[in-house]
Amino acid sequence: MRYLTARKRAEGRGASHTGTEHHWSMTVSAVGLALLVPVWLYIFGSALGGARDEVVATFARPFPAILTGLLLVVGMRHFAMGAAMMIEDYAKGTTRKALIIGATALAWAVAATGLFALARIAL
């Protein structure tokens, strides 16, 4: 037997059943990225165009390596959730599910590849 009324269960959670969790998660990652991105752009932009040993030397240093790792994880989560938001607006049914799964998988694959590259360079 359910003690909660249907209204009580629904209240504040909306059609998504997760309430404002998605939105709040995007807000948190957005603020994180706002701090990470400018510094990372400078590091990446400076490394781009260099010889391989210069690139490896840059990303072997702790700060660029940790920053890039953070950017990959936070950025790709932010991307996956943002892409899901777009897909939910334009697709429905099985197409929607397939596209969201695809975008999520792509985001994790990019993050994992980048982290693997960083580990190989820095360790």
Binding site: A30, L41, G45, G114, I121
Partner: protein
Amino acid sequence: MADAKRLPSVRPHARPLSPHLQIYRIQLTSVTSILTRITGNGLIVGTLLAVWWLLAAATSDSYFAVADAVATSWFGDLVFTASLWAIWYHYLAGLRHLVFDAGRGLDIPTAEKLGWACIIGSVVLTAITILLVQ
């Protein structure tokens, strides 16, 4: 038409129809909104190129030579320059979103000023970044 003339009371005024693509006047606020989505999702392209380039750097000289040739070619320049603008645009539009979320700047004059700030600011920040990392 003839019916409308005979019975003017049926359709007395030319009432506005739903937005028609040929005469639809786009607004700054809607353009800056959709650009946020386009830049955010489009950034996956630059990310893929950057991560591939980093993976190549981690792997071998020969692999890096291939990826670096692509990343520093005209195509790479195009992707990274477009991505740089996209990330700055998305950055400023994201900050604007935080302002909107706080319930501020929602009146049309302020929203349009913030829209111009995103457009102009993103171009300026792109130029500054390119100058800084050269």
